[in-house]
Amino acid sequence: TQLLEQSPQFLSIQEGENLTVYCNSSSVFSSLQWYRQEPGEGPVLLVTVVTGGEVKKLKRLTFQFGDARKDSSLHITAAQPGDTGLYLCACRMDSSYKLIFGSGTRLLVRP
């Protein structure tokens, strides 16, 4: 069983559409991170959320941390083909440096 469950697993949408992907757990985290990974490359950090209820915006991307710090969502407005990739959420366990990743959402934005 994955500590972090991401949904949906796959998403194929048309350019210009909006979408939301989710990261859920039964555990409480001190912080949660979102990464994007493109083919042939390693994941790249997009954002870190720390406070329950926190909302952060990165251009057309909006990240929210749940009030109970057990879940998070990523909303993309007016998706573009350049948004195509694997979106991963990750958390640190307790006070360790160990970073655990979710299963990922594979996004395809069609022109």
Partner: protein, 110 residues
Amino acid sequence: DARVTQTPRHKVTEMGQEVTMRCQPILGHNTVFWYRQTMMQGLELLAYFRNRAPLDDSGMPKDRFSAEMPDATLATLKIQPSEPRDSAVYFCASGLVQIYFGPGTRLTVT
């Protein structure tokens, strides 16, 4: 532009052979991670080091995998003997607060 580098980028080997993957972390980063990525299992943490000391290698099959940091500029991951189920992309990452991933080593064991 500082980056994590990994060599080789691709490796094809036969079952039973030894495989060594190398990583050069970003200078000054004191935490180094090794991850393995497959379609089935996603991104799994194998081991990580802080200030060159291994903190956790519970994700690694101990009988065949070993991870070391001979010095602050080099981390290695060895598999001996390799098996087809080890086929995956192996990522090294380094960081202080934020972590940065290398481009990965794509390993194929036939």
